[in-house]
Structures are given as structure tokens and as C-alpha cells.
């Protein structure tokens, strides 16, 4: 199968460990987590009010990150999403590239699978290079990561580098225990806005 890792390749990374590292010492980082495994990964690291985990809106994670990054230019915004989720919204790479938000990072946890529907192969299993697509869309920095050492460096870049930054992290296609965030979208939105904007958030109209 084209999707199978061949011998001699480095062992694919553990997605939960990658996300734990990326969210370590997160400071005031704002996090959007795409539906499915990235939302469970972010929640497994910590269920934080400044996480906005998605239960739907497939293909929308990067564009949500853009709207947030434009609204909060002095804060760093991290979109954590999956390869299938990003593939559904690839046009948003072009939209982000045209806007060039310096404070936005998009990190794709690429297991080359549609994990929630039965681990069917995604396009990245057949050679589609998302980091190259992001580069072609004018992202300032694009990376393909395959080792855990590179993840530590990526964490620093998410907080400091001039973006927009894109990273495709190759992770193992493991089916991990679900760690679910709250399901009520209005609650997730309200707690995020209150943590970011204060109590005044509830009076904005």
C-alpha cells in the first residue's frame, strides 16, 4: 500500500506527544483545534478556555484562525488540524497567504488518514505535499517535520517567528482514546471570549 511506511524511515511521531510539546508553556497562545483527532489531542494536553475545539465545520479551522489572528494582531494564534480537515479547506491557504498575518501558525498533524471515519487513506498518503502548497500560497515559513527534535523548535517559532507559518508534522496513524472537550459550542465560544476579552465580552453587540 502506498500509505504504508517503508523500512528505514524514522518512526512516525506520537500525535499526543507532539501536541503536548507544542502547548507546553503556552503563555497567552490562542488555539483553534480542527474537528476530530486534533480536538481530542488539544484536550488531552489540557482543556483550556483559550482552546476552541471544533465539533464540525470541516475545512474551516484555518479560516477561523485567520479571523482570530486579524482580530487579535498582538496575540499568537495556533491552528492545530488534521490533513483531511485542511484538504477540505485548502483555498484558505491562499486566503491566508494573501492576508499575511504575522501572528498565525497552522500546524497539520498529518497521519495520512481520515481517522474518525475508519482510517481511510487521505491524499497525503499519495504524495500530496501540504507544506509545498502552503509555500506556493505565500506562507512566510513552511516546514515538514518528521522528528521530535524539530517539534521543540516549532514550539518556539509558534511564539516568536514572523508568520504566517505552516508546519506539516508526520504522525503515526494510531487510534487513540477519545479525550472529548465540552460539546456545547456556545459554551466553548463564551468561555474563550471571556478568557480573551474579559467579562465585557458578554456585553458586546
Amino acid at each position: 500500500m502506498a500509505a504504508k511506511a517503508s523500512k528505514g524511515k524514522p518512526k512516525a511521531l506520537d500525535r499526543r506527544e507532539v501536541v503536548r510539546m507544542l502547548l507546553d508553556k503556552r503563555g497567552d497562545l490562542l488555539v483553534i483545534a480542527g474537528l476530530g483527532a486534533p480536538a481530542w489531542d488539544a484536550t488531552a494536553a489540557v482543556d483550556h478556555p483559550l482552546n476552541f475545539p471544533l465539533w464540525g465545520g470541516m475545512g474551516g479551522a484555518a479560516a477561523i484562525g485567520l479571523g482570530l489572528a486579524l482580530a487579535q494582531p498582538d496575540r499568537r494564534v495556533l491552528v492545530l488540524t488534521g490533513d483531511g480537515e485542511l484538504l477540505m479547506g485548502m483555498g484558505s491557504l491562499a486566503t491566508i497567504g494573501a492576508q499575511r498575518p504575522r501572528n498565525l501558525s497552522v500546524v497539520v498533524l498529518d497521519n495520512e488518514r481520515y481517522g474518525e471515519t475508519g482510517m481511510q487513506a487521505s491524499h497525503t498518503a499519495f504524495g500530496v505535499d501540504l507544506a509545498a502548497a502552503a509555500k506556493a500560497c505565500s506562507f512566510v515559513s513552511t516546514k515538514m517535520l518528521t522528528t521530535i527534535d524539530q517539534v521543540g523548535r516549532l514550539r518556539v517559532d509558534i511564539h516568536r517567528a514572523d508568520g504566517p507559518l505552516f508546519a506539516q508534522v508526520k504522525v503515526a496513524a494510531d487510534k487513540l482514546p477519545l479525550v472529548l472537550p465540552p460539546r456545547d459550542g456556545a459554551h466553548l465560544k463564551d468561555r474563550f471570549r471571556e478568557a480573551l476579552l474579559g467579562k465585557d465580552a458578554h456585553f458586546q453587540r
Binding site: L30, G56, G57, L68, A71, Q72, G91, L196
Partner: protein, 171 residues
């Protein structure tokens, strides 16, 4: 010369504290898009497809920015599933939709989506109003913005093709 409705909408956006205006380039919205792009207090965001505008609005609201999505009726079809997020999360958004396929349309492929636009929006829980006279655009747009942001839900104003045909395509 009479003031074009686009200028009124641009001023309305400013009065209502709109910060992000997203769009796919569109003939009916061309003048308004131009005004928004030239305004340094507004962030004009060019989309590749209208559903990005729904997601963008969710992110904008998370960050405290009010936004407006400008699109053509065909774009409404591109947004359907993403609109779920507005309802599920009670995120406000005003959409201004220029109609195709409802009056003197020359392109048969525009008719199916144009005829379905209002129903599709309503089925997804969007409050819909429609302007067929120029003098109605501003008050209805203000109503859509206010009901969206005061009651935390999506609202759309449709601008009829007869009005647009008379005012925009013939220019």
C-alpha cells in the same frame, strides 16, 4: 448625482463597529468592496470560496471583531454546512447577498441556486430579509446587522436582481 447605496452600506458598517469584511469578488458588490478595501479601519478579506467567510466570522467574533460577509446568491450554496457553526455556537454574522437568477437572468445555470437561496438560508436558521427597492437597502441592512449582533444569530439581506440590474450592471 445620487449617493450610491454602497456608500450608505459602507457608512453603516463603520457606525455599527464592523471590523472585518469578507467577500468573493462580485459585480453587484463591486463598489462596496472597493470602498471597504480603501478603508484602513476595515480589514477586507478576499476569499476563495464563501464558506471561508463563515469560518472567518467565527474566528473574528472569538477575537472580538464584528464582521460582514458579502456574496452572490450562488455563494450561499457554498456555505451550507459551515453555517451550522453559527447556530451551534451562537455566533452572530450579517450577510449581504446580491441575487442572481431571479429577474431577467441571462444565464440558465444561475437560476437553480438563485431560486433556492432564500429557502436554503432559512432552512439553516438564518434570518432573511429582502430589498427590491434601493431605498429599502439601508434600513434593512441596519436591521440585519442589529438583529444579528443583538441576538447572536446569523441574518442575511438579499438584494434583488432587478434593483442591481438597474443600478450596477448597466453602469
Amino acid at each position: 448625482m445620487r449617493t450610491h447605496w454602497s456608500q450608505g452600506l459602507h457608512q453603516l458598517f463603520k457606525q455599527q463597529g464592523i471590523r472585518q469584511v469578507s467577500f468573493v469578488p462580485d459585480a453587484g458588490h463591486a463598489a462596496l468592496i472597493g470602498l471597504c478595501e480603501a478603508d484602513r479601519e476595515l480589514r477586507a478579506v478576499r476569499l476563495t470560496t464563501e464558506e471561508e467567510g463563515i469560518a472567518l466570522a467565527v474566528g473574528a467574533w472569538l477575537g472580538g471583531d464584528k464582521s460582514v460577509l458579502l456574496m452572490q446568491s450562488s455563494g450561499v450554496g457554498n456555505c451550507i454546512n459551515m453555517i451550522s457553526m453559527l447556530s451551534a455556537c451562537q455566533v452572530p454574522l450579517a450577510m449581504i447577498v446580491t441575487m442572481r437568477g431571479d429577474w431577467a437572468e441571462f444565464n440558465p445555470w444561475q437560476v437553480p441556486m438563485g431560486q433556492a437561496t432564500s429557502n436554503v438560508l432559512e432552512e439553516m436558521g438564518v434570518l432573511v430579509t429582502r430589498a427590491d427597492r434601493e431605498e429599502d437597502i439601508l434600513p434593512l441592512a441596519e436591521g440585519a446587522l442589529r438583529i444579528a449582533y443583538n441576538t447572536l444569530r446569523p441574518a442575511a439581506l438579499l438584494i434583488g436582481q432587478r434593483l442591481l440590474g438597474a443600478k450596477t450592471f448597466d453602469n
